[in-house]
């Protein structure tokens, strides 16, 4: 499925189930999400994490409803399954798409300006450097007997200074390789929107409405 469509669908589903309280639909969405995740052949460790990590916020919300409100077991169940639906539907989109495919699709199919697409992509590829930079900043602080925590302004300050430096370099490098902000581009890897992308997107949404409405009437 087209990456932009896939993410749009995942977000729309998550948005819609935020406003509805039908636990069966939530559960069904979680199961569908799980099946899609399984097709991407995740590692066993990731699968275990996918099951157990949502358990924490899900049970927290459910227990809080049971102890701190009069909303009852049904609503607790709705919230519990809602968290699982969020996580599984959301992960079904992220685990089956690469960053560059999504960005390319956003540029070619939804026509966001290419400076945003390539600017984001260029910066995103610095991710490993950034993770190590955070470690370097903290290590440098430790050497001076200065522990840097999430609440230390110095940590963010140094991170922003590094970002300033790199953004300047990267933008210059891209410009010197011929990147021009306004110029039209041709694409090496073309990502198209096919008729079945529309079918899956609209079909899923219609099915969701029917299911929600059907269970709502009961």
């Amino acid at each position: 499925m087209n990456p932009s469509f896939k993410f749009l669908l995942a977000v729309l589903i998550a948005l819609e189930i935020s406003f509805t309280s039908t636990w069966i639909v939530n559960l069904a969405l979680a199961v569908i999400g799980l099946l899609l995740i399984l097709t991407s052949r995740p590692t066993f460790k990731r699968l275990i994490l996918l099951f157990f990590v949502p358990l924490i916020p899900a049970s927290a919300l459910a227990v809080a409803i049971l102890l701190q409100s009069n909303a009852g077991v049904h609503f607790a169940l709705v919230l519990f399954t809602r968290i699982y639906a969020y996580v599984f539907v959301g992960s079904a989109a992220t685990l089956t798409t690469t960053v560059s495919d999504l960005v390319m699709s956003l540029e070619q199919n939804t026509h966001i300006p290419s400076k945003f697409a390539y600017g984001f992509l260029g910066a995103f590829n610095l991710l490993p450097k950034i993770v190590s930079e955070v470690n370097i900043i903290r290590a440098a602080g430790n050497m001076r007997g200065q522990a840097l925590h999430v609440w230390s302004p110095q940590l963010y300050f140094k991170a922003i200074l590094a970002s300033l430096d790199w953004s300047e370099n990267l933008a210059e490098a891209m410009t010197s390789h011929g990147f021009s902000e306004e110029a039209p581009r041709t694409y090496f890897k073309q990502i198209r929107v096919r008729w079945w992308d529309w079918l899956v997107l609209l079909g899923s949404l219609v099915l969701l409405q029917v299911a929600l409405f059907g269970f709502h009437l009961q």
Partner: protein
């Protein structure tokens, strides 16, 4: 000095890099959130973990708003932070983006209400207030906060307000102050 509203390649890269730094930090905070939630769940206060840590999650918004001083920069900064967290393997998948947008617009409102003309302690505090109110409203729907008894609801709101004020207010101000002293970027009010 007049700020242009156009985004250039360098701004976009800088914004993404800052968002990535925050995305990495959010990702590090994830386990803390889980531990705190586990600790608070038996007494039915698990959701409070969300409110206690809220400030850290919404920092990228006001900071980007302050650094770039463009319409939409706070929203974009916060949103990109959530996208990065999503691809780092944050626990929420694509649903992270919804929180990112809600939080981004929430903190953007503070600057919108001052017509993008004031970038000072006042607009920062306004941004803290709009962030708290809007994100809380969203949690009332999404996480079922609306059903809690009124005492808990007020307590959660106050916790969130304090957390947001400390991180998105006081800490952001401290960071901007450090940046001002370098004269590397125009962070002062125009």
């Amino acid at each position: 000095m007049k700020y242009s509203n156009a985004w250039h390649l360098r701004d976009i890269i800088l914004l993404t890099l800052i968002a990535i730094f925050f995305g990495v930090i959010y990702w590090i905070v994830g386990p803390v959130y889980n531990l705190l939630t586990v600790a608070l769940t038996p007494v039915g206060l698990g959701p409070a973990a969300n409110d206690i840590l809220m400030g850290i999650w919404v920092m990228a918004g006001p900071l980007s708003g302050y650094i770039f001083k463009k319409v939409g920069s706070a929203t974009l900064g916060e949103f990109l932070g959530s996208v990065v967290e999503m691809f780092l393997g944050g626990q929420w998948g694509a649903s992270t983006m919804i929180s990112g947008i809600v939080q981004g617009i929430a903190s953007e409102l503070g600057f919108t209400f001052t017509g993008y003309k004031r970038y000072d302690w006042f607009s920062l505090n306004l941004s803290v207030l709009t962030t708290t109110i809007v994100t809380f409203g969203w949690d009332m729907i999404r996480n079922g906060y609306a059903k809690y008894n009124i005492g808990l609801l007020i307590a959660l709101f106050v916790i969130r307000l304090i957390s947001t004020w400390i991180f998105a207010g006081v800490l952001t101000k401290a960071i901007v102050k450090l940046l001002d002293r370098t004269h590397l970027m125009q962070t002062q009010a125009r």
